[in-house]
Symmetry: C2
Subunit: 331 residues, 2 copies
DNA sequence: TCGAGCGACTAGAGCGCTCTAGTATCGACA
DNA sequence: TGTCGATACTAGAGCGCTCTAGTCGCTCGA
């Protein structure tokens, strides 16, 4: 079943069928409908391999996205990307990172598809490797602020997010505030900086504690052990690297008899779906996935459609979502 | 950068370069190395669009996999699929389901790539729709036991898994046992049945309670509320539909002052990474993702390579992984 | 010495599209 | 009436591979 079959069935040329399916100008409305009808009758769908290959001489309008398969927040961002890619007439090609399949392999697969640009979600690649990629094809690092030659960055204002978290709990009356940091993962350094600066601004009204956290619940749990081992008086509020880390933390401190939020307030980051669940109700810093996706596509379009040679960093504002895991400290 | 460039650089024909990259017989070892060297020097990588299109006359050897993007367990299964696909010389094409992107859309995209077979992870499609797909291309339903014409099924023995869970807690001395069921989701009915049968086998030593659960923590949390509202004496052990559901359940009952495992034992299903985390330490029924992936690929190969016309259901044995969320009941 | 057989390599016709450079038709306008 | 400009449509040359059907030496056995 090819275009030729549809063309024969509709009594037009192959080229016309192509025009209709590409929604290109140059077909009369009636003919267009006749072609679509023929396609429907034959249950025809264009071959996207051939389509992309055929487009190779001009523009492919396809972009590769690398993401972590089990990573819930990446799913949210992907939604944002899909939502923005369609209207900009870009096709999205996915390549997943799993335990077995490294980011490097995922990227190779996309390059083999000759996609026009690369969006990397929370990339782990070394800056020099990113720069090497960027020399071949526009690269947007999503969620990870990286300084690499030619690499655009689209991210949430991580530092401001942590400032919001600190500001919020400080306004509730907390003074001893801890940060479960992200270590070396995407965004970790920025959030740490945001936390430190915000605490500094609190001056004598704030006492900061840093605890090593990370991407997942297990690091949050480990951080909780460290938290519980702190000398009294312990911090009364905690800003975690992200929601999963916050959830792991909460889980463990509760197990040790601390109540959240009465004994310790916790703020997450991302606003993954779980954070909104009634039984968890995690106060968090929401990343705006729609705008992240939109901005990433805009960056690609600027490079490819508008020919913008500039490397840019687009920073999206986060927003605090108050929920049940925060409260004024007990006196 | 095309094969032609590499051919010219290595001083051979385009066809020979193709032979080398396909690892097809017909090239001398020395020539092979010369070609690869030329490719390395030019930083050449074959165009997989063109490659798949060129193969269209014979066999594509590509298979499409539909999975849920934020679904951690799907990531594990994907790893199993990747691991098995490589040796069987199949290329894996991914298509993710997100909140915005339905399974139907994901499938369409794969069909447009003209993949030779479809692997659906925990598919939500109606049997008649699956049957329609299966009429066009071999379809393997992974994780979901579905009765649809022409659709192969590869899954864990869900019923046995729940029997293992029930048997394990019964051996610990529990008699009042609850199941947080999965409702209508993939595997839900089987696990429910396994639970019921296992309880029936316990005879007078068992009293079963059914509570509605589901795929994620939030359903587990809701089930926990229902659990807490049960008249005393409540069940002392709970077999959840899956790990996430179990985790949501545990979270809520702990909040209400119950201890796990002292007051209530909990068994999950899947063995996602989180289940093994020290702070959670969830006893669970492990699905063997390596074998699931292997079996799925074997089914595809049987259909496509061996021409097996038979529809089959491959059922993989689950295995109980005892951890810290289970203990004998208090007397 | 000859041809069969084999291994190494190449020519060239696809694969199913896209898209440029046309042709045909027709209405408008001078 | 002739011509101009649209609009509607088509021919055909790619896109970068794959793979069949060869060709071209070489060795080897008779």
């Amino acid at each position: 079943m090819t275009m030729q079959d549809v063309a024969a069935h509709a009594g037009v040329s192959r080229a016309l069928v192509s025009i209709v399916f590409r929604e290109a100008p140059g077909a009369a409305a009636a003919t267009r409908e006749r072609v679509l009808q023929a396609a429907r009758e034959l249950d025809y769908q264009p071959d996207s391999r051939a389509s992309r290959l055929g487009r190779a001489r001009t523009r492919t309008r396809s972009l590769g996205v690398v993401f972590g398969v089990g990573h819930d927040f990446h799913g949210d961002v992907l939604d944002g990307i899909y939502a923005a890619a369609g209207p900009a007439d870009y096709e999205v090609l996915l390549s997943g990172v799993t335990r077995q399949r490294t980011e490097r392999v995922a990227v190779r697969a996309l390059l083999a598809e000759r996609c026009e640009a690369l969006l990397l979600l929370g990339s782990d690649l070394a800056p020099r490797e990113l720069a090497r990629l960027a020399a071949a094809v526009p690269v947007v690092s999503l969620l990870r602020p990286v300084r690499a030659a030619g690499v655009d960055v689209v991210r949430t204002h991580d530092a401001k997010g942590l400032a919001q978290a600190v500001g919020y709990v400080a306004d509730l009356g907390h003074t001893r505030i801890a940060h479960l940091d992200g270590g070396g993962v995407a965004g970790g350094a920025e959030r740490r900086r945001g936390f430190r600066d915000a605490m500094r601004r609190l001056g004598s009204r704030g006492a900061a504690t840093m605890l090593p956290g990370g991407l997942t619940e297990v690091e949050g749990a480990t951080a909780a052990e460290a938290f519980l081992a702190l000398p009294e008086p312990r911090p009364t509020a905690v800003a975690a690297f992200n929601d999963r880390c916050a959830l792991g933390f909460i889980d463990v401190v509760r197990r040790h008899g601390l109540r959240v939020p009465q004994d310790v307030s916790v703020v997450g980051f991302d606003d993954i779906e779980q954070a909104g669940y009634g039984h968890l109700s995690l106060t968090t810093i929401r990343q705006d996935v729609e705008r992240l996706g939109q901005a990433a596509i805009e960056r690609v379009a600027a490079r490819l459609d508008a020919g913008d040679p500039e490397v840019r960093e687009v920073v999206i504002e986060p927003r605090l979502v108050p929920r049940g895991s925060t409260a004024p400290p007990r006196r």
